[in-house]
């Protein structure tokens, strides 16, 4: 791996973050009026939010962004704060800091998405491999169309149907939330079980909609490996079917799948924004939804910036470790 590749990659990483931060700075100023200030004023006028905090907030923001200073000074201050992960205070739940709200939501999102991504990957890859394998049971062949249809449907709509079918019509699972109402998150075994129980439906809807994607991709790869000379050679040598399937066809077909798995793990944070909302799951997606509903701009921008950061870090790490996973990729002369 050459040094200039690393440097170029790092520059790209910084450009992405700078772009996200700049977008957050520009957007409120593009809209007619200043939505941030209007939001604060309307909260003050209606008195719906903690009235006592409003004056302090206006002062805090004036101080933080130097709203009296020239625009470019405001911009530099803003960028500086963003790179220090300081997104200021939430408007709707002042005086919580945006970063703390995000940090509380992040573990929920990451664990839900990590587990469901891995399950759908394992299940889909195996199904896809079997779907393409000439000697597997006939019924698997007919799964191609349903799998394609599944992968074409947005996951949150599958989620809605699941909520109704398994949560309301047939009340097997809780339909909303990340844990039982009335409990507080803690490290006990009982809470852990409860959290798992609550995550089954959202996880199921993610797995169900992603499994088709993995199956179709794997099937495509398997079909190409089956024609390869080494598979024919292995057959001629008299290696048992199962051995050919596992060690020759599957093993070589799975490498591109691992590459896309790595990529999709990078998007774990943003993957299920809408699914969390459907299930009222206490993760980043729900935080974002509430922020949108309350026009809590600083929370919105904080979530976006943190997600972009997470994805940028993940992709740069994956890029650097790819050659270890797939020896066919190397960055010499990239």
């Amino acid at each position: 791996m050459r040094l200039d590749y690393l440097v170029r990659r790092l520059i790209q990483f910084l450009v992405v973050l700078w772009g996200a931060a700049t977008l957050n700075f520009i957007l409120p100023r593009l809209a007619p009026g200043n939505p941030v200030r209007e939001r604060l004023l309307s909260a003050l006028a209606t008195g719906g939010y903690q009235q006592a905090g409003i004056e302090e907030m206006v002062r805090a923001y004036n101080e933080q962004f130097g709203l009296d200073k020239p625009l470019w000074v405001q911009y530099l201050l803003y960028i500086q704060h963003a790179f220090q992960l300081d997104f200021g205070y939430s408007i709707a739940s002042y005086p919580s800091k945006v970063l703390n709200l995000i940090m509380a939501a992040l573990p929920w999102t990451i664990s839900l998405l990590l587990v469901s991504t891995l399950i759908s990957f394992a299940l889909g890859t195996l199904l896809g491999a079997l779907m393409a394998w000439p000697r597997s049971p006939k019924f698997l062949r007919h799964l191609v169309l349903p799998m394609m249809a599944l992968s074409a449907i947005p996951y949150y709509l599958l989620g809605l149907v699941l909520v109704y079918a398994l949560g309301i019509a047939l009340p097997l699972f809780p339909i909303s939330g990340g844990f039982a109402v009335g409990t507080l998150p803690n490290w006990s075994w009982g809470f852990f079980q409860d959290a798992i129980y609550h995550s089954i439906l959202p996880a199921f809807s993610i797995v169900l909609s992603a499994v088709g994607f993995w199956a179709i991709g794997m099937r495509g790869m398997m079909v190409t490996t089956e024609g390869e000379d080494y598979v024919v050679y292995a057959e001629a040598k008299g290696i048992p079917d199962r051995g050919i399937f596992l060690h020759y066809a599957l093993r070589n077909a799975i490498l591109p799948q691992l590459t896309s798995l790595a990529l999709s793990l990078g998007t774990v944070v943003s993957g299920a924004v809408v699914v969390e909302i459907v299930f009222g799951y206490p993760g980043v997606g729900s935080l974002l939804f509430q922020a949108i509903a309350a026009l809590d701009y600083f929370v919105i921008y904080g979530v976006v910036f943190m997600t972009v950061l997470a994805i940028a870090v993940a992709t740069i790490l994956l890029d650097l470790t790819y050659p270890l996973v797939d020896p066919r990729i190397s960055y010499r002369g990239a």
């Binding site: 992405v16 939505p35 809605l160 149907v161 309301i168 976006v304 972009v308 940028a312 992709t315």
Partner: protein, 303 residues
């Protein structure tokens, strides 16, 4: 020149000396029946929006025009929602709006992508490096989140057209990349080289030599682009960031979630819009996989 004959295997081309466009299409559709099924599904959805207003009073798609919270009956075939919208009217009025967002955003995104992809692929050099780098950067950021930020900031004056433009603002990098790679395979072909040596300018080569040969590929990309932009726009609408006063399909799902239609067993409120969305995606998916043979040069030989 740029018709589907590209997609025919050599033998079929030799047998029918001068196949008419209809014959070519029939031949192609026989080999790719999913294309017809997809076209029928999407066509039927379009027809609901086009012919529906003749039978259904679309004004009832607005709040307070019908008795609120009614289950399906002879008077309201799909029932009504809490705000007194006739949900059948909502479907008839909303379907074309949702499709309009998709087609508009898909067209804008694909046009920008085609322009940039052609330029980057044909010119190469610094222009290519800069365009490719911007595309790479944008492709790494989470599209829906950026769209959410934009849509939330301008939430107060979002309309169907504005929503389409918001979605289109992130719909061009992927087409740029795929069209660039198509141009890279085309630009060393004989006729392009002949054109270049005969002194044709760059814009002429791009417009009259490259573009016509990309048309079948662009047609297939358009379906993919529309599907992606509809997915994005419905995602935004379900979050409540769609046009607030228009009865789009995604916005209907948002209202249903917001007013707890699921828990209150008002199935007529949320099942029809979901069915319609699912049909729309499956239809578009079938069309695009039916056009795969046109779009994917590797499959042209197989058949």
């Amino acid at each position: 020149m740029a018709d589907l004959s590209l997609a025919l295997p050599p033998r079929a081309r030799a047998v029918s000396a001068a196949p008419s466009r209809l014959d070519v299409f029939r031949d192609y559709a026989r080999r790719n029946p999913e294309l017809i099924v997809g076209l029928v599904v999407v066509g039927a959805l379009l027809a609901i929006g086009l012919i529906g207003p003749l039978f259904v009073d679309v004004r009832q798609a607005q709040p307070m025009r019908a008795v609120p919270g009614q289950p399906p009956s002879a008077r309201y075939l799909l029932g009504t929602d809490d705000q007194g919208r006739n949900l059948l009217a909502v479907m008839v009025a909303g379907l074309p709006l949702t499709l309009k967002v998709g087609f508009l955003a898909g067209a804008v995104g694909l046009s920008i992508g085609t322009l940039l992809g052609l330029t980057a692929g044909y010119l190469g050099g610094t222009v290519d490096t800069v365009i490719s780098m911007i595309v790479d950067i944008i492709l790494t950021v989470p599209g829906l989140l950026i769209l959410i930020t934009i849509a939330a900031s301008i939430k107060t004056f979002i309309s169907v057209e504005v929503l389409a433009l918001v979605v289109a603002s992130l719909a061009w990098p992927r087409p740029t990349r795929t069209i660039r790679s198509q141009v890279l395979t085309l630009r060393e072909r004989g006729y392009i080289q002949v054109a270049r040596r005969s002194g044709l300018g760059t814009p002429e080569i791009i417009l009259f030599q490259l573009l016509p040969n990309l048309l079948p590929y662009l047609a297939a990309s358009f379906v993919t682009a529309v599907s992606a932009t509809i997915l994005a726009s419905i995602g935004l609408e379900v979050l409540g960031l769609g046009p607030q006063n228009d009865p789009t399909v995604g916005q209907t799902i948002y209202w249903a979630i917001k007013y707890n239609a699921l828990l209150r067993n008002m199935w007529w409120w949320w099942i029809p819009p979901i069915l319609v969305v699912v049909l729309m995606f499956v239809g578009l998916f079938l069309i695009s996989s039916g056009l795969d043979e046109v779009a994917n040069p590797r499959r042209r030989r197989v058949v």
